[in-house]
């Protein structure tokens, strides 16, 4: 669908013709996020200020046009896909760090600031921004706040919602509102519900985040295990002993093979699974916790137990972990993953089931995940050129998620529900639970124009559709 000339002209007038993308070929760039879903927006707008965002939102509201806020498009659940058409509202021109308050330990930033850039800027003051998604070199703080993103170090430090102190948002009617702030103000915690609302309640135009002092000491341990079971057992035991490391990550045999071939980080490729554990803080505490972890790992059949000797070695180990999914391209050109969560004591059980489901569908599975949180990332590896494979992949992934729920877990730990998992929401939430969420949506966005089709199951669908058969599915026809 192309946009009516009148609307286009209004948008161009509001934010400048060069900041409205409407050429058919250009629009294709904005079709996808990092999930397998996709849809071409009617137009893409790139406002530079809060006022411009508000102007765009008002124009869209006047014409009943959906608006889908979008950061860097690194989301994994289809949250930034314009599944119902309308405008993709790209915030990446709003990328200034407005203020770093070293006394209060906060930063006020525009939503398009890249996660890693904020941490680099904060480092000049001895501070850092804790949530560290694997995509942190590209993903934006606005997108992180909208998705309530996680990352390896969220085990100890908490996810994005624990680090966002305030938000400026443009509400679906174009009003600008400040939620939260530097102090307790009496009133409902609207900030808490907008963070993680996946762009369905408001468009984030400024973010006030907490910055923490860079820890004095960091110790990174790597250990190999003969089996995933043994590694999972070790994870449960570390936490069960009352040690909460900064990060506790696992990679299985398949992943380690791909990562090592690419990064040469010294991961043992003959291992059934590898654990990466990191403790930080004051030197004495880090040393003592590291020693305790070393003992647990040792008692659980760990081999190749190694401590990163210097920051360079530590960086390399982490580069391998954070680049793991990319490295999997060595095995198959495409991947698909969910990020279901289980209580961490159920890790051995869920990983066995994940393996069985992969085998039943004859799909290779590479596990690389936040073990300490019980937050899985089973990557299903495939080649899109194989006839009908995408459908199998989606079915297998859905079965894995269902297994998480059966074990007392949930649908998503950090990627969001988005488009791809909205149909599964009834697995965890009753119609009444969902109705309560719906009431909140209706208060913020009574006309349903902001990021429609996300989070809530489509009640009009006859059978739950797995994901929109667009995006990657359409690309299958290229071959």
């Amino acid at each position: 669908m192309t946009l009516a000339t009148k609307i286009l002209r209004d948008l161009q007038q509001a934010i400048g013709a060069e900041n409205v993308v409407h050429d058919e070929l250009d629009l294709r760039i904005f079709e996808r996020d990092a999930s397998i879903a996709g849809a071409i927006p009617d137009a893409v707008v790139l406002p530079a200020t809060t006022d411009e965002v508000a102007a765009v939102v008002r124009i869209a509201a006047r014409h009943d046009l959906p608006v889908v806020p979008r950061g860097a498009g690194t989301g994994l659940s289809g949250g930034a896909v314009t599944s119902h058409g309308g405008l993709a509202l790209q915030v990446t021109r709003m990328r200034r760090i407005l203020e770093i308050d070293t006394f209060g330990g906060t930063a006020l930033v525009e939503p398009g600031v890249v996660n890693a850039d904020l941490t680099a800027a904060a480092a000049r003051h001895g501070l850092f921004y804790a949530p560290d998604p694997s995509s942190q070199k590209a993903c934006t703080i606005g997108g992180n706040a909208a998705e309530n993103s996680g990352g390896p170090h969220c085990l100890y430090y908490g996810v994005t919602t624990n680090h966002v102190l305030g938000l400026e948002v443009v509400l679906p009617d174009g009003k600008v509102s400040w939620l939260g702030g530097a102090a307790d103000l009496p009133g409902l915690d609207l900030l808490g519900v907008v963070v993680g609302s996946e762009g369905t309640l408001g468009t984030i135009t400024k973010v006030l985040v907490r910055l923490l002092p860079i820890p004095e000491a960091v110790i990174t341990l790597m250990a190999a295990f003969p089996t995933i079971d043994a590694a999972s057992q070790a994870v449960s035991e570390v936490i069960g002993r009352g040690i909460v490391p900064a990060a506790l990550e696992m990679m299985d045999h398949v992943t380690v093979g791909a990562v090592e071939a690419h990064y040469h980080a010294g991961y043992p490729t003959d291992a059934g699974a590898v654990l990466l554990a990191e403790v930080d803080g004051i030197e004495e505490a880090a040393a003592e916790h590291a020693e305790a972890i070393r003992k647990v790992l040792h008692d659980n059949e760990a081999t190749h137990l190694r401590q990163a000797a210097d920051p360079a070695e530590r960086e390399l180990l982490w580069a391998g972990r954070k680049g793991a999914i990319g490295a999997l391209g060595r095995i198959k050109p495409n991947y698909y993953l969910h990020d279901g969560v289980v209580p961490r004591t159920r890790l051995p059980e869920i990983l066995r089931q994940v393996g069985e489901i992969g085998r039943a569908y004859e799909l290779p599975v590479a596990n690389v995940f936040h073990a300490g949180d019980g937050n899985l990332h089973p990557n299903l590896l495939f080649d899109l050129r194989e006839e009908g494979v995408l459908e199998q992949v989606e079915k297998a992934a859905a079965e894995m998620l269902h297994a998480c729920i059966e074990l007392g877990g949930t649908l998503s730990g950090e990627h969001g529900i988005g488009l791809e998992k909205s149909a599964f929401m009834p697995w965890v939430f009753s119609p009444d639970d969902l109705d309560a969420m719906r009431r909140v949506k209706d208060v913020f966005d009574p006309r349903g124009l902001l990021n429609p089709g996300k989070i809530f199951p489509d009640e009009t669908a006859e059978e739950p559709k797995v994901v929109a058969r667009t995006g990657l599915a359409a690309e299958a026809n290229w071959w």
Binding site: G187, V193, V341, T345, V428, V443
Partner: protein, 360 residues
């Protein structure tokens, strides 16, 4: 006063009250009963004392799910059996119930290190005024499935529904802890000393600056962690060992109690405006202060103005009805009040729960 024996019965009581147009005041341990404006109507008190079970304590997962009527002390007892604890230590203890503490939003000194319950509540079950029981969040420590409705109920005084069950992320007890104190000569040196502690390599678990009725300015801090870390911190801090018990400190209460909040950098300036004889306890690392003899309406009004100009607030946690009427409990209207009112309307259209008590 009715005390339903099950979440279902409590929800049904709410629904029945809503149908009859009655006003319900939910009651936990009654420890925060002084909070809020006097309800416009008060037909029925609904107690949660009948809901006091520990539903699940998954020790190795560091999670715990309990009913709302359980007292914090009994919850801590349960957790202590596994060497764990919940970092929630509101004033006017003991006797707070889990639901009451969450609904009142009261926090204590441990908030410095662990944050408020919004950082460690992972799931809630809430009875709505239409009789439905709804869940948000879950029992796992990391969860972005759907809206985080947990947070809407924290500190909301039950106005969107009555909390009947809560799931928490819990924490391991530290190997060692130490309480240290120091008498400060004057306010400037007290705040400077507090700021020095907040810049140490490891943040203290708690830090308070108290000015008692005699005019003594005393700093008290709690440090915790592995023994070697505590020893090092204690020597870097260099204060005297204190016999102060944090359990005793949690008993502190007052019938004339105002909670001041502000940006951390502004807090010393706000507190400096308090009367020279005032009894107050500030939490310099959080940006809050308990003013424990806030009785004179004119002075309260003036301090509130100072706090609000600095971007903060002053809320009366306990006061006579007269004082509440004269200065108001909550202070300036929240800029997003309109959205809050509409949320209230979406969940409690008949204003069944605590009508007129909260900001919505």
């Amino acid at each position: 006063m009715v005390t339903p024996e099950s979440p279902e019965a409590l929800a049904e009581t709410l629904a029945e009250a809503a149908r009859q147009g009655q006003a319900v005041v939910p009651v936990g341990g009654g420890r925060a009963a002084t909070m809020g404006t006097a309800p416009e109507r008060r037909d029925l008190e609904v107690g949660t004392a009948g809901l006091d079970r520990v539903i699940e304590h998954s020790q190795a997962d560091l999670t715990c799910t309990v009913e709302a009527g359980l007292t914090l002390e009994r919850l801590q007892q349960q957790l202590a059996g596994a060497g764990q604890f919940l970092p929630l230590d509101p004033r006017n203890s003991p006797g707070h119930t889990v639901g009451g503490a969450l609904a009142s939003g009261w926090t204590g000194p441990l908030r410095l290190r662990f944050g408020s319950p919004r950082e460690f509540v992972i799931g809630l079950r809430v009875a709505l005024p239409d009789g439905r029981l709804v869940r948000s969040g879950g029992r796992v420590v990391k969860n972005v499935s759907g809206y985080d409705l947990n947070k809407l109920h924290l500190g909301a005084l039950g106005t969107l529904g009555v909390i009947v069950e809560a799931s928490f992320k819990v924490f391991p007890q530290p190997a060692a802890r130490a309480t240290l104190e120091r008498i400060a000569e004057d306010a400037d040196s007290a705040w400077a000393e507090a700021n020095r502690l907040l810049k140490l390599a490891q943040l203290p678990w708690a830090l308070e600056l108290e000015r008692d009725a005699q005019g003594t300015l005393r700093l008290v801090t709690l440090i915790a962690g592995p023994r070697s870390a505590v020893e090092r911190l204690a020597s870097e801090i260099g204060w005297a060992e204190s016999s102060e018990s944090w359990e005793e400190r949690a008993r502190i209460t007052s019938a004339h109690w105002a909670k001041i909040s502000g940006p951390r950098a502004a807090l010393p300036g706000i507190v400096a405006q308090l009367p020279p004889t005032a009894h107050w306890i500030a939490q310099p690392g959080i940006g809050t202060a308990d003013w424990l003899d806030a009785a004179d309406p004119e002075t309260i009004f003036a301090i509130r103005a100072v706090a609000e100009r600095a971007g903060g607030s002053l809320v009366l946690l306990a006061a006579s009805d007269e004082v509440k009427r004269e200065v108001g409990v909550w202070g300036a209207e929240h800029p997003a009040l309109d959205l809050m009112l509409r949320l209230r309307d979406a969940f409690d259209p008949g204003r069944t729960i605590n009508p007129g008590r909260y900001v919505v």
